[in-house]
């Protein structure tokens, strides 16, 4: 499944880097701790978080994640979107909270 399929199925807003919607999704990882994601996420996963600052893009890029989904209506900072465009890793958004979104993503990926 591609990021764009996930975005369509879950009705996600695309904040940045639409060119990255073709990236393949291998799974998901839900966490707001950057060290946790750094140490334990896997390449190709979609990262679900409420963190909106630029460092999430550094982590996503260093760990080759497929995309980031911001929960609870949070929006990315301007420099986060800038880096997202540069790296080609999309930042998406939803009004759902992390529990609901993780459940929905799990359902469509299994």
């Amino acid at each position: 499944m591609k990021v764009k399929d996930v975005a369509e199925k879950l009705g996600l807003k695309v904040f940045s880097a639409p060119q990255g919607l073709e990236r393949e999704v291998s799974g998901g990882y839900t966490s707001d701790l950057l060290s946790d994601v750094m140490g334990h996420s896997q390449e190709g996963q979609i990262w679900i978080t409420l963190q909106t600052h630029k460092n999430i893009m550094a982590v996503a890029s260093l760990r080759d994640l497929a995309a980031i989904i911001l929960v609870k209506g949070f929006e990315p900072d301007a420099d986060t979107m800038e880096l997202s465009e540069q790296e080609g890793i999309p930042v998406l958004g939803t009004r759902m909270q992390a529990f609901e979104l993780s459940g929905s993503l799990y359902e469509i990926l299994k």
């Binding site: 707001d32 060290s35 750094m38 140490g39 630029k54 460092n55 550094a58 260093l62």
Partner: protein
């Protein structure tokens, strides 16, 4: 190959720059992706620690055919109890830093897990030097 990067304490906007540069170089050198992953995890955590806990520092990377040696030397408060600092979950990070999702106390344990060799030299009131070695095979 020898590379050097400066890191400013407190400047989270630039955190991860050295890690991403080194990642690119290792990719160009066709290093095994699982090795690159370990280098990136260890270096990012060490880089963020300078930003979060020290005043300024220098990262040196020495890439040879057999592996990479990373030296991160900072001017900062030093670490009074290294064993305690190495304990998973131990952190002295400020509330603001924690709210950003840093300061979970997983950095030094992550470095140690991913490095083939790891050494901490520290003088309280002066600074800290980490030496991280990762073999390519």
């Amino acid at each position: 190959m020898k590379l050097e990067y400066k890191v400013e304490g407190g400047d989270f906007t630039a955190a991860g720059f050295a890690s991403s540069q080194i990642k690119k170089i290792l990719k160009q050198l066709n290093i095994d992706p699982s090795v690159i992953k370990r280098v990136v995890i260890a270096l990012y955590e060490a880089e963020v620690n300078i930003v979060a806990h020290a005043y300024r520092g220098v990262i040196k990377a020495h890439i040879e055919s057999g592996g990479i040696t990373l030296t991160l030397e900072d001017e900062g408060p030093g670490i009074p109890d290294v064993e305690m600092a190495m304990t998973p979950g131990f952190s002295t990070a400020t509330k603001a830093v924690r709210e950003m999702g840093f300061g979970a106390g997983m950095g030094l344990p992550n470095i140690s897990e991913n490095a083939d060799s790891f050494n901490i030299e520290t003088i309280v009131g002066k600074g800290t030097t980490l030496t991280i070695g990762i073999k390519f095979k």
